[in-house]
Symmetry: C2
Subunit: 759 residues, 2 copies
């Protein structure tokens, strides 16, 4: 660690001050002349024919400039939610946008939206998987399936997805959007030979990413080209550029996307309404802004899917895994996803087993479509496997952590997709959990009437090529340029990487996040891949800039570049501190009229292909109120393997944040629809995001097993800490109260019901 | 020529449509919330003590937010005009800004400015060089000289400047801002041995660059850092960044400069009020915009200096130059420049002579300071030498073009700065002029009572390092990124260079001009150096992108990169058109989740050090009205050597524009001050810029002698065509009317006076 000047030192966020003082400007702070405010008219039916839309009263509201419906926009095949735009003829879910009111002020737009009269003819709807899979169920897409791009691709799922692709039933239209199946070995025989078999069905609800900042985007027609300029809260500016270009039917180079500072995203901001808002702006020839209210955010975005996860695992008496089987039914809402198969894959990914049967079915329902949420579907998959591990340990009379270690993946083991694990730290993470005081003192907890549970979660990690640029300025500052979205504290970590590599203090680094015209390519920020992949581009660009700087100094001092070093902001001849030049002066020798040196303009490109799976184990300590069923989370330990903690403060922030969201999954959050497809938890008064007290004291412990290709050995850290929380808390509840919870969130009524069934 | 696909083909400006339809947005079109409009209170005296400034009435105007004077701003040493800011205690010229009114609207600011009451105590002023050099003249800077950065540096003057630096008179404060002297050989003896000696004194007035768009700039304080963001009409964004940073006392990396589209610059927009407006914005904590009116543009900017140019040249009877002598007095206004010495240098630069004496004196006067204007001071220097060449040819009985060819510089000749000429085309330009119909038919002109005159002008050309970036997108478009200002049609030429190099059609190239945060370094656009130097960076970046693209395709096709070619937007294996991939598809293989190739992100850096002097000869045909003295320009031929005409249409545009401005110098333009230092030509009603009819039919002829280091052999083309016009017209007037005009503009009264003196 002490080899580094900056890497590994806890470093506060460079933009933290601006964020907490409100100085940082977000999309909503942008003032653009001539801007029209957009407000949706949302469907109040889960399924209905639109017999007519009366715009007249809305248009009479002072300030309302236009009311736009699907008929006003190009008729595109509704191949995905981002292409769905506005409902055309039929509404397909409660919250489906039917019309957009464009007005000079937010108020006028809202008033106008109230006055758009939609003549609905209600149709039967199937709003959950059972109804949707029933014979003669009303069909979301009666004319055949639409093909939807699975959002999991953006989160690292594809390379690790289960072998078989989703199969389409070509024969008869149904709500089955796709199925997947992975078979390995002989599962039937293996179960027959197993000594202990545990089979359970788990259910987790639709959960919302719940960013503080709702979805928002501004689109402005380019006055010269047919293109548009987009500003928005987003994770993937280059992805948004492509989506908008496809929608408008123009080259992506004519779309300029500014990724604004992001007030939370968590997988929900890989693109949703940007193409629609771009179409609206082009339609009216004026800039248009869409800002969702919290209620709209809950009604008409893309939360994570409800899953029904049936798992069966067989063990030999010595604890060795004999067979694993999963059948996942994923409630996809109105558009297909591949998230069911992804969940099944994760269930089996990190406990290598010779005999596997993984099946999934993605079902269309009359609900809003679904997408990624931090470690998409992994919390459910790991609730399944980790609950079963716990129960098996109990039945086998083994220590639950030892059982996991015995079966854990290690370097060289086979992943279900056929590839091999590189160096990973699953076992080291479990061993660290075993040493954690919360685990070691669990008998003490028991005496106090509490229960302690453990679980682990693993994440394959995403990969994507990207580039970075480093320019040296005349003030000795190295400007580092990226085209990525500025999310989750990466500027601070990248500043440290650039400082470490170039050889200056972090205050001599300035980060520039450029728009898609000016910035080097970067993938979406998500899937725990940004620091892991783009960090390498930053390091290479800084190295390039360092060599270019040395090349100038070498000529000035008439020495070889190898004889130079950077000390205290100066390039000096090694061993001759009096032969030195300020970095700014070196930059200035190129940045001047008649200069004879090329400007220092370093580039770094990367396409890392080594994966770096990472792990988080969690230990939960709970009290269960036997009278009310209420679960009180007393302590939560997060033990995470991060390769190299480049900025331990940022890593711990991710561990806290992920675990807190995990607590939400476990105990609080549920988007509940009634049988008529109406959302019951349509505001933050009803939809319960845990507060600071509810999240319990979180104790972090970092483990470091350097990765092959990460910057200074780092691995992605974003997703793992949300994965094991549900399982750890379920196991703690089992420890405390002797009940196995299989449905999340583990609310008081559900726990009480389980307690009553037990007695 | 036919080796090229695009280079050399006349190509209309890619942004021409947007410019002529008003779609392109300039600085004045920017709408920034909270913007305050700035309006100057300008001095009405050339020299006065400020006893007090009463802001009260101005502040009472509704909408006026602040009235700012020098006392409200940091007290900086007034080392240059850009640092002068507002008058402190004394005003030094008519038009000197004394206060700034900041208001919500332009109107309120103007009303406020009318009501600021300044209590002046008039002081004696010296407003021309004779008064200023007189014994006991009132001193502009009584406490000693200020040092001023000569603007000629930005225009290619420094490397070619005369040997001796300006010498300061340390003894006694005076208005002499500096002198220079270059001596070579034995001038006295050479004149004594000469057969023909011509000595004349030429005078050219203060002339304004007269852009259609006046000076304008917006500064906005950065909400997070101590920095500012600047938008403006400017030639040098990176130069402006440094100037503003120095003024605010912050690192240049904290200043972000957006160079907006420019409605004319011609040397006047290398920085003037940007630092002041930045200070004002920081002072009030709001964005501030300054937009000069035409009258202010004439009163308080930085036109080209009045020059008194005394020249003496001796010839042997065979026409060989024996000695050259020049003494230039430059009226610098309130700040020093080195423009006098630069003018003297140019006089002798292109006619190598063994015996030289070049002297200059830069004199401070109570007038606005001066700066560069297209080929700064060269029109005067060439009026001197080219008039003398013409007169000498007459006396020697030689053809005036032959006399020039005999003495013209060629490859290997010595430049007065001691360096050697590379391959140049001065002789070829003169030979082309000799063959021009306007010259060959001059006897015919004579018969019609007209006169024909010839002159040549040469320009050393500027140099500056710079970089460019080329990104390949998924639509097969190559985005080319520069950090330069977008001026004089360079995007069109650079598009052709990128298309030619990368191997695609120009419509698959998109140009991106980025701000100083996001853009690669580039010098100011001026000095005929942009295409010559940055063109190389574009070519290198496109080459780099091509190689990166081939590297991906080579791996895909499992062939060597040398076996690939780009045809019709596809990379294909040579000879196997069926083995091909669209460029967009290749880009997409890197720009995707899990991609295994580095994104195509080419960089090009350059620091060309070879100069590429270039030449324009002009032939003027005139009629002189002997009754009124009016000179009627009938035809003007521009014969220009450009190395390689990358875009002949753009080159011809420069030839037309330069020659038209030359006509303004010769016949119309003069900023006339009365003895009290009041500007008499303070509007475009009084200051005469030639209109389309006055500019006469201009006939262009391009000569191409490829340069060593220019892109595809190109040379700079911007400055040469303004240089010889005054000389050519003066010689045509001599041919028509037998009078030698030595004072510009050659207005009817001056010509009439000369005609009367002759008779």
């Amino acid at each position: 660690m002490s080899d580094f000047s900056f890497v590994g030192k806890p470093t506060p966020m460079i933009d933290g001050g601006a964020k907490v003082t409100g100085k940082l400007k977000y999309t909503a702070d942008l003032k653009i002349p001539g801007l029209l405010n957009a407000r949706f008219v949302l469907s109040t039916y889960p399924h209905a024919k639109i017999n007519g839309i009366d715009k007249e009263e809305a248009l009479a509201v002072p300030g309302v400039q236009a009311v736009v419906t699907a008929k006003d926009l190009p008729d595109m095949p509704p191949v995905s939610r981002t292409k769905l735009m506005l409902a055309r003829d039929r509404v397909l879910f409660v919250g489906h946008p039917v019309a957009v009111v464009l007005a000079d002020t937010e108020t006028a737009a809202a008033d106008g939206a109230e006055l758009v009269m939609v003549d609905y003819e209600p149709l039967p709807a199937a709003t959950n998987i059972d109804e949707a899979m029933a014979e003669d169920a009303p069909l979301v897409w009666p004319n055949g399936r639409v093909s939807g791009a699975g959002d999991e691709a953006a989160h690292g799922a594809d390379a690790g997805d289960s072998g078989d692709d989703d199969k389409e039933d070509e024969e008869k239209p149904s709500n089955i959007a796709g199925t997947s199946k992975t078979v390995k070995g002989d599962v039937e025989k293996a179960f027959a030979d197993a000594d202990v078999i545990i089979e359970r069905t788990f259910e987790t609800p639709m959960v919302h990413q719940s960013s503080i900042e709702t979805q928002r985007v501004i689109a402005q027609p380019n006055p010269i080209t047919d293109g548009v300029t987009i500003w928005g809260s987003m994770q993937s500016p280059f992805g948004t550029r492509l989506e908008v270009a496809e929608t408008l039917g123009i080259p992506e180079s004519d779309v300029q996307v500014h990724a604004m500072p992001v007030g939370g995203a968590f997988g929900a901001k890989f693109g949703l309404y940007e193409p629609l808002v771009a179409l609206l702006a082009v339609h009216v020839g004026q800039p248009v802004r869409l800002t969702l209210t919290r209620s709209e955010e809950l009604l008409t975005t893309n939360p994570s899917p409800p899953l029904r996860f049936t798992a069966k695992v067989g063990f030999k008496n010595d604890g060795i895994l004999a067979a694993m089987q999963a059948n996942v039914i994923c409630d996809s809402g109105v558009y297909p996803t591949g998230l069911g198969g992804f969940s099944a894959f994760q269930f089996a990914a990190f406990y290598p087993c010779e005999n596997l049967l993984l099946e999934s079915t993605n079902v269309l329902t009359f609900k809003q479509s679904v997408a990624a949420y931090r470690a998409p579907t992994a919390p459910t998959a790991f609730m399944a496997i980790e609950t079963i591990m716990d129960e098996a340990a109990e039945k086998l009379g083994m220590d639950p952590i030892d059982l996991r270690i015995m079966n854990a993946a290690k370097e060289g083991d086979t992943i279900p997709d056929g590839s091999e694990f590189p160096v990973i730290g699953m076992i080291e993470t479990l061993e660290a959990a075993k040493e954690h005081p919360l685990w070691k003192n669990r008998e003490e907890s028991k005496k106090q009437g509490r229960g302690v549970g453990v679980a682990i979660g693993g994440w394959m990690g995403g990969l994507e090529p990207g580039a970075a640029v480093c320019k040296l300025n005349r003030d000795g500052v190295l400007q580092v340029q990226l085209g990525a979205a500025d999310l989750s504290g990466t500027p601070t970590t990248f500043t440290m990487l650039a400082a470490e590599t170039f050889g200056v203090d972090p205050d001599k680094i300035r980060f520039v996040y450029s728009d898609t015209n000016s910035g080097p390519y970067a993938g979406g920020v998500g899937g725990s891949k940004t620091t892991y992949t783009l960090g390498n581009a930053v390091i290479r660009a800084a190295e390039d800039a360092r060599q270019q700087t040395f090349a100038i100094a070498a000529e000035e001092f008439e020495v070889s570049a190898e004889d130079l070093e950077i000390v205290d902001g100066k390039v000096q001849v090694k061993g001759y501190p009096d032969r030195s030049l300020d970095l700014g002066a070196i930059a200035g020798k190129a940045m001047t009229f008649g200069g004879k040196y090329d400007p220092v303009h370093g580039s770094g490109r990367q396409s890392v292909t080594d994966r770096a799976p990472s792990f988080a184990a969690q230990i939960a300590e709970v009290e269960v109120d036997e009278e009310t069923g209420e679960v009180n989370l007393v302590n939560l330990a997060v033990i995470q393997e991060v390769g190299r903690a480049l900025n331990p403060m940022a890593v711990e922030g991710q561990m806290h944040g992920g675990a807190t969201q995990g607590v939400g999954w476990a105990l609080y959050e549920e988007m509940r629809y009634d049988d008529d497809g109406q959302l019951l938890s349509g505001s933050w008064m009803d939809y319960a995001v845990p507060d600071a007290v509810q999240a319990a004291p979180i104790h972090t412990h970092i483990v470091e097993i350097p990765s092959i290709s990460g910057p200074f050995g780092a691995r992605g850290v974003g997703e793992p800490p949300i994965i094991p929380t549900m399982g750890a808390i379920a196991n703690a509840v089992a420890d405390a109260a002797g009940i196995r919870m299989t449905q999340a969130p583990m609310t008081a009524p559900r726990v009480l019901e389980a307690l009553q069934s037990k007695n």
